[in-house]
């Protein structure tokens, strides 16, 4: 009974801290702007199954992608055992889900095997981070904190897997020697238990007890560490894929407030009738964190800083300052910095800093070719170019700020209907003196 009470209190603390943190982050969504209505739920479900659970985009890098897929799939099956542990801990049962029979066997067996596969993948990740110079793990945005964060999360996962295997080994050894029935299949731990032929049933039982508590406490710590870490993607990536933009990558979102203004210019009376008189005056584009739409902010929270986006960015590859990963990290950091005060003092709060310039420079924004390589590469469908273009929109339409050549392009389009300074009268010059051979 004491055990159950201790467990219940621990679980309660875990949930309270977790929901406190989540609430702190989620409330910032109230500051963000609308992006798109979430429709086509079946299509979204299909996309989630394919991209998130099928890990299709991570397989764009087949070798290391496979290692990640093992970790992801491992988590998916191991969570079954974790839920059972929580039930056992609360009710004092042992293997509470054993009534599921073959389903229980399947999850125990696959969890047992995946524990090793996940551990192996994590060790590969650690070795890569520590000993190989991987370009995408570097960059100006990758501060020491990011590297420590990565190492901490990987170590936690490794410990989770070791404790899981120790727990299973303890359970199998203890039950086998005691001649009691083993619930679930543990193909790997059965072998591991066989490696300790001299260990007594009692010692196996102690091993099981210790690793059971270690494993569940690590899960609680891990869950509460994640929201403060780039590894928040453990929670965010699947929903982020579900909430993906469903449009082709080439499509930019229409600014309906601009459409109203332009229609007003072109057809004054009709458009005027369509605009409510008390429509709020809204800033064009994104200058600061609260100007971003909810999807961009969701993207920023989901980012794992894996750097696949930056590693394929043509601007970054050729030494420009732009790094799509940094853009996402900056939005997240700026919201964390400014969000609390905006919630407290309202939208007029001003700390004389902004996402633009204090975090993301104009030089970075103007280096983007909108080629969408970053968005295509992102394993969880983050869309960086939409945020970059939103920030350009602020620069151009609110500050009339753009590189000189682009201002000339705007003038030319306005005056001659072409980005170059040529007359529309010459538009058909190419068609002169055309003839084809006929056989």
């Amino acid at each position: 009974m004491t055990r159950q009470i201790i467990f219940a209190i621990t679980l309660l603390i875990t949930f309270v801290v977790f929901f406190y943190t989540i609430n702190r982050i989620v409330r910032y969504f109230r500051l963000t702007r609308p992006a798109f209505p979430v429709r086509n739920l079946w299509k979204r479900f299909g996309l989630m199954m394919k991209v998130a659970f099928g890990q299709t985009k991570i397989f764009r890098r087949p070798v290391i992608g496979f290692a990640h897929a093992l970790v992801f799939w491992g988590f998916c099956v191991i969570i079954f055992g974790s839920i059972e542990m929580v039930i056992d801990g609360l009710t004092g049962t042992e293997k509470a889900l054993k009534f599921l029979g073959p389903v229980h066997d399947f999850f125990m067996a696959s969890g047992d095997i995946f524990a090793l596969l996940v551990a192996a993948s994590i060790i590969i990740f650690m070795i890569r981070r520590l000993f190989f110079h991987i370009r995408r793990f570097e960059g100006t945005e990758m501060k020491k904190r990011s590297h420590i964060d990565a190492a901490a999360a990987l170590s936690l996962i490794l410990l989770l897997m070791i404790s899981l295997l120790a727990m299973n080994t303890g359970y199998v050894g203890w039950k086998t020697i005691a001649g009691e029935k083993i619930y679930g299949l543990y193909p790997l731990s059965r072998v591991l238990a066989g490696l300790f032929p001299d260990m007594s049933s009692g010692n196996f039982s102690i091993m099981h007890q210790i690793s059971w508590w270690t494993h569940i406490l690590l899960i609680f710590i891990f869950a509460n560490y994640l929201p403060y870490s780039k590894h928040f993607h453990v929670f965010m990536s699947v929903p982020n894929v579900f909430l993906s933009r469903l449009e082709p990558l080439g499509k930019l979102t229409n600014m309906d407030n601009i459409t109203r203004e332009v229609r007003l210019m072109l057809d004054h009376d009709a458009a005027l009738a369509a605009v409510p008189a008390d429509a709020p005056v809204e800033r064009f584009g994104v200058k600061d964190a609260e100007d971003a739409n909810w999807k961009s902010y969701f993207d920023s929270l989901s980012c794992t800083e894996c750097g696949r986006c930056t590693s394929v960015c043509p601007a970054n590859l050729t030494g420009k300052k732009l790094s799509p990963r940094k853009v996402m990290m900056d939005l997240r950091a700026r919201m964390k910095e400014k969000g609390p005060s905006v919630l407290k003092y309202g939208r007029d709060f001003n700390d004389n800093r902004s996402l633009l310039r204090d975090f993301i420079s104009e030089e970075e924004l103007w280096a983007c070719t909108t080629c969408n390589a970053c968005a295509k590469e992102c394993p969880i469908n983050i869309n960086h170019p939409s945020l970059i273009v939103d920030m350009r929109r602020y620069l151009v339409m609110e500050e009339a700020s753009a590189p000189g050549e682009l201002k000339a392009v705007f003038n030319n389009i306005e005056n001659n209907g072409a980005p170059w300074q040529y007359s529309a009268e010459d538009r058909l010059n190419w068609a002169k003196d055309l003839e084809i051979n006929i056989n």
């Binding site: 499509k251 332009v262 601007a315 732009l322 909108t370 080629c371 339409m397 068609a431």
Partner: protein, 264 residues
Amino acid sequence: MATRKIEVPVMSDLFARGERPEFLFWVGCAGAFDDRYKKVVRAFVKILAHLDVSYAVLGKEETCTGDPARRAGNEMLYQMQALQVIRLLKAYDVKKIITICPHCFNIFKNEYPDLDGNFEVINYLQFLERFIEEGKLKIDQASLNNISVTYHDPCYLGRANDIYQEPRSILKRLTGGFVEMHRNRSFALCCGAGGGQMFKEAEKGDKEIFIERTEDALKTEASVIATACPFCMTMLTDGLKYKNKENDVKNLDIAELIAQSLGL
């Protein structure tokens, strides 16, 4: 060999005569004003004439779709252009648009519908591929003497709109010597001209993007770099000049290769 003079049909003329073409061929700014790319447009209308397609161009009435303005953040200017264009196209009762420029294609297909500009938009590669499939456009590998060709995916056909198959299918019919660059299809590297970069100097860095991409193409040792976008053509042609390879390696548009193989 006999020759036939081609008059490019202009929409306003046809309308004055009470005729309605099936397609509007949207030439685009580069087709109208870029000397190199004018040749691509000429090659394409030769193919249209060869196929006896019912089409017209807007000629002097054509204007910018607003794409460079939009991608550079000037949504106001973009929408002013777009609403003008949509009004013009509706006045001519346009139903189907053929584009050669992927940027024009993308904006017509994906972005004009938000402003009530709904048209059937076809990229010239999709258009030509259909004629080839139907057997109306006969090209064969022998005609280009199996020269080796590599293909650079324009971002706004590839990643933006998932058009990867048509150019490859056409090129493989044109020559037995088709080779891929190591970064191809959705992995293709941008030429460096998108998002308004065509019209400005690149930001400070240690290399030009177009040189990086030209190197990808040169590594294949193909003698022709096939492109399907006016801006990619400008960038890669510049890249070849920079690498002093303009005499060994040609940068041609797929339309030019087809026209060449047909002996037009």
